[in-house]
């Protein structure tokens, strides 16, 4: 049998990437990592990319005689949903007009676009390197032709009071616990088939977090609902609400395949309002 190899999406991007950005030249060897070898490249944080189903990571290092190295990593996440998701893992920084939802903070530029998450960082803050980082970002943005669609579950989020930068999209309990620790066990039965969005709301000076989880089937949603009540809100009243020991309110409701949980609401009124407002 003859084995035929096809160019991957990363291969296609690679052929168009610049070898030179200002004084910075690409090193001779690019590197490409898969879901196994990525652990040798990103020590400590690789699980995040794996949790979002990373397919490949392309890495190119640019060096200059008088400046820090610049590292371009392009992660092919396989879908725009996961590219968006891994982007939401860390949304600190200033908004920039690059890719989709581009962000810059000292030393690091990142954005998502189509099925890719793009990270460009310099090993040390440096004025000329920062300009090169932006130039490189624009080039990569231009090379990725298509824009990606955001996960549909985001449309379920109430609009009023939503803190846009707080939105996290995920489908792994480890990632949820990183952003908001709920339990040392997967009491919401989150799996790769579950779509979860977590967001912070501020309305009339009051704050709360809202978690939405969409399951494949009704049974899975009901199981998660029962499990959460059992382990987290055993004292919930008939409407699924409970006053926590820190004087905040938590609440849960299930509507078909969609589970909605309010966490740490400043008032019962806000918790009720958010549950009612889920679209």
């Amino acid at each position: 049998m003859t084995q035929t190899s096809y160019a991957t999406p990363v291969d296609e991007l690679r052929s168009m990437l610049p070898q030179q950005i200002g004084d910075w030249s690409a090193e001779a060897q690019d590197r490409i990592f898969d879901p196994t070898t990525i652990f040798g490249y990103i020590d400590g944080g690789a699980e995040v990319y794996k949790a979002y189903n990373m397919k490949q990571c392309f890495s190119r290092r640019y060096t200059a005689p008088n400046g820090p190295a610049i590292i371009l990593d392009i992660f092919d996440m396989g879908s725009s949903k996961d590219a968006f998701g891994v982007f939401t893992h860390d949304t600190d920084g200033d908004e920039i007009d690059m890719g989709q939802d581009g962000r810059f903070r000292p030393g690091w530029l990142n954005f998502w676009k189509d099925r890719f998450f793009v990270s460009i960082y310099m090993e040390e803050e440096h004025e000329a390197a920062e300009k090169a980082v932006f130039d490189l970002g624009k080039r990569v943005d231009g090379i990725i032709a298509k824009k990606g669609a955001r996960p549909g579950i985001l449309l379920k989020l109430p609009v009023q009071g939503l803190q846009a930068a707080s939105v996290r999209y995920l489908h792994h309990p480890m990632v949820l616990n990183y952003h908001y620790f709920i339990s040392d066990q997967n009491i919401l039965n989150i799996s790769e088939h579950t779509e979860v969005v977590l967001a912070t709301y501020t309305i009339n000076g009051e704050e709360a977090r809202l978690l939405l989880a969409a399951y494949l089937g009704l049974d899975a949603a009901d199981d998660a609902y029962s499990n959460f009540l059992k382990h987290y809100l055993p004292d919930a009243d008939r409407s699924g609400m409970a006053l926590l020991e820190n004087k905040k309110w938590s609440a849960i409701q299930v509507n078909g395949r969609l589970l909605s949980i309010v966490l740490d609401a400043d008032s019962r009124h806000l918790a009720e309002h958010l549950l009612r407002s889920v679209r």
Binding site: I42, G44, M174, E245
Partner: protein, 299 residues
């Protein structure tokens, strides 16, 4: 089937107020509190030398070896570092030196060499000494070890808040990712595994150029390391880590000009104390001895 394992939730933390206060490294739910009430204080040596890093950034081997000698003498109340090595190790020992190879901030090779010299002074055969990180589970010296030395630089870390001495033993288990939940709170349990339990005789937290903040997938920028020029040495890994954590926290606050908590909270340090009984995390249970360069010591 009956559910045997207790489910720990955020509610447990809320009940004890653990999510309300930050900065003191105190506050885990008091589940299975084992050793947090020990009467003995843990002795920790913080030694710094302004000259241990030259202007070109290179670590000076003689200075570093001298720092280690001084720290050992103080830690074990001895006049002679050779005596300390001989007290700690013997000719029949098989010693694994658990290092750290993280490419941006590895354990300095010159420190690994200084440790090996000390071990050989104590009569340990060269063939019975090995320095390793990622391969410790396959390394014959580690597999047959009678003693371990734990040595690594401190840095902020994506999952655990801090890369610590406690966390350095994660390579002793086959599934490191299984310990990432709740900011790696369970790392202390690794130290109770049979192939690790009771073997560690010395912990050296390298504070020469610690990383106090991370960005990007690689969690690294040279902008966030600084030349602290120190070593923290103790037989108690929890006390050494807690001391290092306070320095990192102080550096973050100073650098950012505001309270900037280590994120995520390094819960595993507190858990190693109150849940796994590996040592003392609270400052009032640590006898901290500071020697050497005092400039911007931060603690």
């Amino acid at each position: 089937m009956a559910e045997k394992k207790r489910v720990l939730t955020r509610r447990d933390f809320i009940r004890t107020g653990s999510y309300a206060a930050m900065g003191s490294l105190i506050g885990l739910p008091l589940l299975g509190r084992a050793a947090g009430n020990r009467n003995d204080k843990s002795r920790v040596i913080l030694i710094r030398d302004e000259k241990v890093i030259a202007d070109d950034g290179l670590v000076q081997p003689e200075k570093l070896a001298d720092m280690l000698d001084k720290a050992l003498k103080l830690l074990f109340k001895s006049d002679d570092a050779s005596d300390v090595w001989e007290q700690l190790f013997g000719k029949n020992d098989i010693v694994g030196i658990k290092s750290n190879v993280w490419s941006h901030l590895p354990t300095p090779a010159v420190l690994e060499e200084a440790i090996q010299v000390g071990l050989m002074q104590a009569g340990v055969k060269k063939t019975n000494i090995s320095v390793d990180d990622r391969s410790v589970r396959r390394n014959p010296v580690f597999k047959n070890s009678t003693a371990l030395i734990n040595v690594r630089p401190m840095r902020t870390h994506h999952w655990s808040g801090l890369g610590t001495l406690l966390k350095n033993y994660i390579m002793f288990v086959s599934g490191p990712w299984m310990y990432h939940g709740n900011a790696c709170e369970k790392l202390g349990s690794i130290w109770r595994k049979p192939h690790v339990l009771g073997k560690t005789r010395l912990n050296i937290l390298v504070m020469l150029t610690p990383l106090f903040h991370g960005v990007g997938p690689h969690h690294f920028s040279r902008s966030y390391i600084w030349r602290y020029r120190g070593l923290i040495v103790s037989t108690d890994p929890v006390a050494a880590d807690a001391t290092g954590a306070r320095i990192i926290q102080a550096k973050r606050n100073a650098y950012f000009g505001e309270e900037r908590p280590i994120s995520p909270r390094p819960l595993h340090i507190e858990a190693a104390d109150v849940k796994y009984g590996l040592g003392n995390s609270r400052a009032d249970r640590i006898e901290l001895i500071k020697i050497g360069w005092e400039d911007e010591i931060l603690i």
